[in-house]
């Protein structure tokens, strides 16, 4: 396959503030310009970092949950050290369909890393340490003395058996916050097995069963394209870690043991599934891209793709049909004349939803995503098309706000990435670097934290503690 010529990003230049706010009165411009002054990402490095005093050891491998959790902390300023096995976290090797041409290559060493790992390797240092060896674990204990947080996702009980579990590490550093992350948990009849990865959690918590088209529409249970439960679980772990840090520094002076699983993070946010079941035995069905509890609130096909239109309550309901009526007056007339659609809650029955979206489809088939959005926004109805990643990367609003940005890595060259959403006045999240070769920071971290000498490095490398045994240092 020949390499197509890839244009520089952005293909279309980003708008300027003058263009965005053109024609507005000073009064109308005042608030958005004030916000820009206080949260624009260009100002990030003029401001301090909320978590600058924290040091985090991220020893998780293979899964996204720990990697994601430590990213949140790293973006907010913590010093995060990714403790990888010699040779690097196996997650580095993943690439879509095994295609090596998709991977990023270190300019100096030729070492390759896939986008999955790379995108989350932000602001983190990389050291290598072989925890399978006794000496490796002794070194970890020494690192723990200097750390506030440790994250691990090894099979349940592994670290405890090795003498570096919570029960042992808290004796070494009572202020340590120890966080285990995984799919289903460290204890209980279904505790994690080695090798389990997302979407295990998605399937175990009811998410997969509830996503996708119903069988009556020819559909099946559907997983997220992403290792999505790991993202939610990782953020939940970050909440726990920060709560523990607050409590330690405000009150107790001590750390604690935190457990976060991807499955339980999703169970927390499956809003009414459990209560509904408990009230009358209902089992939440899949409902495709429509909603069980709100009408109009769905994605449906349109002229050039798929279109989301939302308007649950009356004011918006009538405005949507007014927009439709501009081109399809008979449709609007029919809907307005239907007494079965009068009351908000009566629109929720399946039959009424079929009617609603079929009628809306009569209008959507003639409108592209952008024209539908333009017409509906005149009536202040929320709508928007389903965008693919190439469209997201070029979307004017997202470019202007910097949702997508390009980072020039000294190792890997230009990398397009999703920026941190942690916009703040005083201590915003930020990107310092993206991507880090394996063990790049061994020299720095082991010297400054543990006082390693050249002899130590040579000996440990040879013994397979910091490097693979046949590897050159």
């Amino acid at each position: 396959m020949s390499n197509p010529k890839v244009l520089n990003w952005p293909a279309i230049p980003t708008l300027t503030p003058d263009e965005v706010y053109a024609g507005l009165s000073d009064q109308a411009k005042n608030y958005p310009l004030y916000l820009e002054a206080i949260v624009r990402q260009e100002h990030n490095f003029e401001k301090p970092e909320a978590l600058a005093r924290l040091r985090v050891l991220d020893c998780s491998t293979r899964m996204m949950i720990g990697h994601w959790c430590s990213s949140q902390l790293a973006e907010l300023g913590a010093e995060v050290i990714k403790v990888e096995p010699p040779g690097g976290d196996p997650l580095r090797k993943l690439t879509p369909f095994g295609r090596q041409e998709y991977m990023f290559k270190d300019k100096e060493t030729g070492e390759e890393v896939g986008g999955q790992f790379l995108h989350e390797m932000r602001n983190k240092l990389s050291v290598t340490l072989n925890l399978e060896t006794e000496e490796g674990r002794e070194i970890l204990k020494k690192l723990v003395v200097h750390s506030d947080v440790i994250i691990e996702n090894f099979p349940p009980g592994q670290w405890d058996a090795w003498g570096i579990g919570y029960r042992q590490l808290r004796e070494i550093n009572p202020r340590l916050i120890y966080c285990w992350v995984g799919q289903r948990g460290q204890w209980g009849p279904l505790k994690d097995k080695p090798g389990m990865l997302e979407p295990t959690a998605q399937a175990a918590c009811g998410f997969v069963h509830g996503t996708g088209d119903p069988k009556e529409f020819g559909g099946q249970p559907t997983r997220s394209a992403l290792w999505m439960a790991d993202h939610v679980g990782g953020t939940a772990a970050a909440m726990g870690i920060l709560a523990a840090v607050l409590y330690r520094d405000n009150v107790s002076g001590e750390g604690q043991f935190i457990e976060a699983t991807s499955a339980e993070a999703i169970i927390r946010i499956l809003d009414y599934s459990w209560a509904w079941y408990s009230m009358d035995g209902s089992i939440r069905p899949r409902y495709g891209n429509w909603d069980l509890a709100i009408n109009i609130y769905a994605v449906n096909p349109c002229k050039d793709g798929y279109m989301m239109v939302g308007g649950g309550h009356d004011r918006l309901w009538y405005r949507i049909w007014r927009t439709v009526g501009d081109e399809q007056p008979a449709v609007e007339e029919d809907v307005l004349g239907d007494l079965h659609l009068r009351d908000v809650s009566e629109r929720l029955g399946h039959d009424m939803q079929v009617k609603t979206y079929t009628m809306l489809g009569e209008w959507l088939k003639d409108n592209s995503r952008s024209s539908a959005e333009r017409k509906l926004s005149k009536q202040q109805v929320a709508s928007g098309g389903v965008l693919y990643v190439n469209e997201v990367a070029e979307y004017p609003h997202f470019k202007y706000r910097g949702h997508v940005a390009e980072y020039e890595s000294p190792h890997y060259g230009k990398i397009l990435y999703g920026t941190t959403p942690f916009l703040q006045h005083k201590t915003p999240g930020r990107l310092k670097w993206l991507g880090r070769p394996v063990g790049y920071d061994n020299e720095d971290v082991y010297r400054r934290l543990l006082g390693f000498t050249r002899e130590d490095f040579a000996r440990l490398s040879k013994a397979g503690v910091t490097h693979e045994e046949d590897e050159e240092e």
Binding site: D213, P214, K215, E216, F217, G218, W276, Y277, S278, M279, D280, G281, S282, I283, R284, P285, R286, Y287, G288, N289, N300, P301, C302, K303, D334, G337, D338, L339, H340, S345, E346, L348, G349, H350, D351, M352, V354, K355, Y357, T358, M359, G361, E362, L364, K365, D366
Partner: protein
């Protein structure tokens, strides 16, 4: 796609997802007449023309011109359901699946102490 049966004027709602790019036969939910249609991106590009045989896919729902609803087995496709029955109206519930009380039914002003239902408040004592 909205298919108005030329025989009985019934509105047959051919819902967007299964019928957006469809080629085949569907059936009027009211009179049973078979219609052959072809759609492309939601637009009808061929038909409806009268057909024979068996329908490939039934409408999602149908209505007579006076808005009276038509749905049921063999007429329209079944609705996704959370239970055996499906009423799409508020269901008064007093006891949950494990037989305990839950405040799932409408109350009157006299049924409250402040904001709490009397029967729940009494139970807590």
């Amino acid at each position: 796609m909205l298919l108005i049966c030329s025989g009985c004027q019934t509105k047959n709602f051919l819902d967007p997802y299964p019928f957006w790019n469809f080629k085949g036969v569907t059936k009027c939910a009211n009179c049973g007449k078979l219609w052959r249609i072809e759609t492309s991106s939601g637009t009808c590009i061929s038909g409806p023309e009268a057909a024979t045989g068996t329908p490939d896919l039934l409408p999602g729902f149908a209505e007579k011109p006076d808005y009276s609803p038509i749905s049921g087995a063999g007429l329209t496709r079944p609705a996704p359901r959370a239970r055996k029955d499906s009423v799409c109206k508020p269901i008064p519930i007093e006891r949950n699946v494990r037989g305990q009380i839950v405040s799932g039914h409408p109350l009157k002003k006299d049924d409250l102490i402040g904001s709490r239902p009397k029967f729940i408040a009494a139970h807590s004592k």
